[in-house]
Symmetry: C2
Subunit: 393 residues, 2 copies
């Protein structure tokens, strides 16, 4: 018997990952994953990009690099931050191996065992896994269509003095697709300042808005350098490159750099060179616009089909961007039971229960619409509706 | 003031990294880093490889992938393990983002706060940083030319009941260049079994033997599945790809997979595809043979020059492979003082003190020979010798 660390007993395989294994069967229609549409990847452009990088910077791109990241990439990311209202220089950016790594580093920089992490209810499943390695306590804050409810947040802050982190996905949240309103973002900053808490703003989907008005990131409202912002190229370019970034105040960022160094030395050099080359050669904005267009159509079709097909009493969110929407079954119905019936019909989703760290609202489920064709969306929603009707009998 | 985690106060920037910043000046001769020779990178081959991968598997290579790693790569790695006497199937391999990540995951899987890690004295600096995040205690075991001294190890195991890990770099150790003898490897397994300790065998340099006889890896002698073996493509192909691997017993590996998932989801998909393509298209063994030849010449030249130039009383190791050798100044002399004099002469190295987690033998230093031309080696060693003579005056 190996003697593992105590935290091993709290680690569990992501339910999504286990479901994804089932969905590898070709006949399965899967709304379970969170994959970007692969048919939109700029494959030929990336081919040109890698070729140019290896031709012109082969030795550098294959060599070790600094922990902070490749300077031209840090500069380009800082310029992108400026476009969404975040003042940042290259020195304020740390390049990381996808935004999941940002969560691991956040835990390393901020969390001692037993520290309180405040999060939305529900929240991003893999953030819970990343933080859980450092054995925090979770406190959930109720959401409505405008995101985390600030009265509930203040109550949570009152009840948990010394809470370390408020973790939020303010734009097109995973799993609900909800977006935090501007008024609540302002209130969030005010409360974080008052209660001396760090805000971790996880924003992988912010650029994928296809409806409604842009809302400035929480970080752009930060007056005391207490927002750690993280994002990624995974949803706007390619997740297979594993490149994201952290933007934070200097002392905080320096600590992220320190732990990044011990964690994996640095992010793939060639992937960083490739992204720089892509940004300098091709039009990322036009590419993102195309992604928005396709995801908008898919989301509209999914909602339209749900309207037509789902039984009365089933509710769902209407996201203005991102990859996911959230379904609530009538209370008392269990989405895990629904999943069993759906798998029999070759359609999959993720039951919502595991997105709640403490509570568990088993009548909820997450649907992904970015990775299915229009035919699959219509057919898949019909099959889920059929399974729902069977359950409601 | 931000409230960081307690571990932040124990984290410190790698001294090497700080020295490397100084050595970026072009006139500097640096024996400080641990970089492979970039002029040996198979740049044109990698260009062909990335082109073929993007042409034939573009969407897959740019998409998310499983945490365990790309199956064809796991198979190829398992086959390489077999060549050095380690029985492993693809399922026994986890692909990781360079071997540094293996150390982070090892800490997550095994270390509770205050747990004892037994290591060589001196040991790999960045392993200390990776583990330190989880606040272990370090116990150092003396080495000689045959590696860790087993009588000392047994004393350490007696004195520290419940020790969790023995961390070793048995082949061409960083920083000393020393290799553990076969007899000691057998004794190491015996002691680990007796005292119920996990062995972490970190073997990034094992394939870079250019003199002496091959010695089987510790993992190949493992009778109870208690050796976690890790290695990397960084020193035999390219560190900029950030691809390494873990080989461990099933239950242990499953825990590594769990924490890898929370840490960064998975290793770069395109980098994994590229390595598979390289291995299936080009002759990695011939490439490694070429690296060995060049490093052998550089090491021989460095030793020959030290013989001629270094003052009497200065000792050094004679590695049979790898990238580093280790110098001991007469006791009482401080390598940090020597470094100051050397930087004035535009030559750099890493003082040995920080390779000792508890003790600190300040009369030691590490020299890298893989990343300097023959001219630079001769000139750099002459300058160090000149600085030594000035100190000895």
């Amino acid at each position: 018997m190996m003697r593992f660390a105590e935290r091993v007993q709290y680690a569990k395989a992501s339910e999504i990952r286990e479901i994804l294994k089932v969905t590898e069967q070709p006949e399965m229609i899967s709304f379970a994953g969170g994959l970007p549409a692969p048919e939109l990847f700029p494959v030929e452009e990336m081919r040109a990009v890698f070729d140019a990088v290896l031709k012109e910077h082969g030795s550098e791109a294959l060599q070790y690099a600094t922990t902070e990241g490749y300077t031209p990439l840090r500069e380009l990311v800082a310029a992108r931050m400026a476009q969404i209202g975040i003042k940042a220089a290259a020195d304020d950016i740390l390049i990381i191996a996808g935004s999941q790594q940002g969560l691991d580093l956040t835990a390393k920089v901020f969390l001692d065992e037993g520290d309180t992490v405040i999060c939305e209810s529900p929240t991003y499943l893999a953030a819970l896994s990343a933080f859980r390695t450092f054995l925090p306590r979770y406190v959930e804050v109720e959401m409505d269509e405008d995101g985390m409810i600030m009265e509930e947040l203040e109550r949570a802050l009152e009840a948990n003095p010394g809470a370390k982190i408020i973790y939020t996905v303010p734009d097109f949240q995973n799993p609900t697709g909800r977006t935090m309103s501007l008024g609540r973002r302002q209130k969030l900053i005010e409360l974080a300042n008052k209660y001396d808490v760090v805000i971790v703003e996880d924003n992988p989907y912010g650029e994928l808005r296809f409806a409604g008005e842009k809302i400035p990131p929480v970080k752009s409202l930060d007056t005391q350098g207490r927002v750690v912002y993280q994002s990624t190229f995974s949803k706007i370019l390619s997740p297979g490159l594993r490149v994201g970034w952290i933007c934070a105040a200097p002392e905080t960022l320096q600590n992220y750099v320190l732990f990044k160094q011990g964690t994996d030395l640095h992010t793939s050099t060639i992937a960083q060179y490739a992204i720089v080359r892509f940004l300098n050669t091709f039009d990322l904005e036009a590419h993102i616009e195309n992604i928005r267009k396709v995801y908008k159509e898919r989301r509209m079709l999914m909602i339209d089909t749900m309207k037509k097909e789902f039984p009365a009493g089933v509710k769902y969110t209407t996201p203005e961007g991102g990859l996911f929407l959230w379904v609530e079954l009538p209370v008392g119905l269990n989405a895990r039971d629904l999943l069993v019936k759906c798998l029999e019909r070759n359609v999959a989703f993720v039951p919502g229960g595991s997105f709640f760290p403490n509570s568990s609202r088993e009548n909820t489920l997450r649907l992904n619409y970015s990775n299915s064709s229009e035919e699959m969306i219509v057919e898949g929603i019909r099959r889920i509706a059929d399974a729902m009707r069977e359950m409601l009998k």
